[in-house]
């Protein structure tokens, strides 16, 4: 084929026009870079952690700097679910429904003590879900009560770090993600 012949003729070291204009990378890297540079979280706050999440979105901490500014009002457009606040058992089926409505690939941050383990309500909270990972798979846990905006940003970086090393052919992303726990 003619194309193959042309490729063989290019000498990257000597041909100045090619050297200055061609960039070689892998598809995985490009896709992961685009993905990690536009992580759109869902507008979804359950308790006081959501206040810190709002502060992270506001100008002082400015989550927009890392491409994660547009909090989407629907799960259909979101990549990231930040579970910010105490999940009551009444809310739990709704949280699961929202998670299932998000398109793949999707990521979950469990923000704050309540979301990780039930927090202060673990013993006497008759109506509090004792860790959102009993319901949906969680990628990153952020401890704190509530975590400061810097901590949430660090959690976002961890999600981005995770995105950086994914392979497009690994469609099920097995080994990267736990399964849904409650059917």
């Amino acid at each position: 084929m003619a194309g193959e012949a042309n490729i063989q003729e290019i000498n990257f070291n000597t041909d100045a026009a090619t050297r200055d204009n061609v960039l070689i990378t892998t598809l995985d890297k490009v896709l992961n870079w685009t993905r990690k540079s536009s992580v759109w979280p869902m507008t979804f706050g359950l308790a006081c952690c959501a206040i810190e999440m709002m502060a992270t979105g506001a100008s002082n901490y400015d989550i927009d700097r890392f491409g994660s500014g547009p909090f989407r009002a629907t799960p259909r457009q979101a990549d990231l679910m930040i579970v910010a606040g105490t999940v009551s058992l009444k809310m739990a089926p709704r949280v699961k429904l929202l998670y299932e409505q998000m398109p793949e690939p999707k990521y979950v941050i469990a923000m704050g003590a309540c979301t990780i383990s039930g927090g202060p309500y673990i013993k006497y909270g008759y109506h509090v879900l004792k860790g959102v990972d009993r319901l949906i798979p969680v990628d990153v846990y952020i401890p704190g009560c509530p975590p400061r905006p810097e901590a949430l940003l660090e959690g976002l970086f961890r999600v981005q770090e995770k995105m950086k090393f994914e392979r497009i052919l690994d469609r099920t992303r097995e080994g990267l993600r736990p399964k849904i726990l409650v059917e």
Partner: protein
């Protein structure tokens, strides 16, 4: 209302006793909030009397109480009504009822003070007190299909809810 013209707790209790007789079960004027303990089935007419004749136009708070103690000397439930008046902030009184644990039924006061509507729903949801005549006595905080009344002292949390594990590891 000035201090001189406002009826004190003793006078309020006396007027209630004159009007309702033995429906006033007990009177305690030494308590921090002076109160009358009344018959649960008469609480709506007593409330109407307090509102229309004694000027208590405001229900400050409606609380439910579980009097169960460790020695099992009392198994009763209760409801406490804190009454007030607007704009006279010092015009205060308190009503209490005691209810048997197996059938805790009391007349609703939601027709007397509309603010009691949601308070009574909360007392039903969390303590299981039945308010007779309430227009919509459904759960207000817990999930619709929740079982039991969580703030009772003998309540045991369920192990699972819709397949979600609820136990403490």
């Amino acid at each position: 209302m000035s201090d001189a013209s406002r009826p004190g707790p003793a006078e309020i209790a006396k007027r209630l006793q004159d009007e309702f007789g033995d429906k006033i079960v007990a009177v305690d004027l030494e308590a921090v909030d002076p109160f009358c303990q009344v018959d649960p089935m008469a609480v709506d007419e007593i409330a109407t009397f307090l509102r229309d004749r004694l000027g208590f136009n405001y229900l400050r708070c409606l609380s439910s109480v579980d009097y169960l103690d460790k020695k099992k000397t009392s198994e009763e439930l209760g409801v406490v009504y804190h009454l007030g008046a607007i704009p006279d902030a010092r015009h205060l009184f308190c009503l209490k009822v005691r209810l048997p644990r197996d059938e805790p039924t009391v007349k609703t006061v939601s027709a007397v003070w509309p603010t009691a509507d949601w308070h009574e729903r909360e007392a039903w949801d969390l303590m299981g007190i039945v308010f007779e005549g309430h227009p919509n006595l459904t759960r207000i905080l817990c999930a619709e299909d929740w079982e039991g009344h969580p703030l009772r002292k003998d309540y045991v949390s369920p192990d699972t809810y819709h397949g979600i594990k609820n136990n403490v590891v």
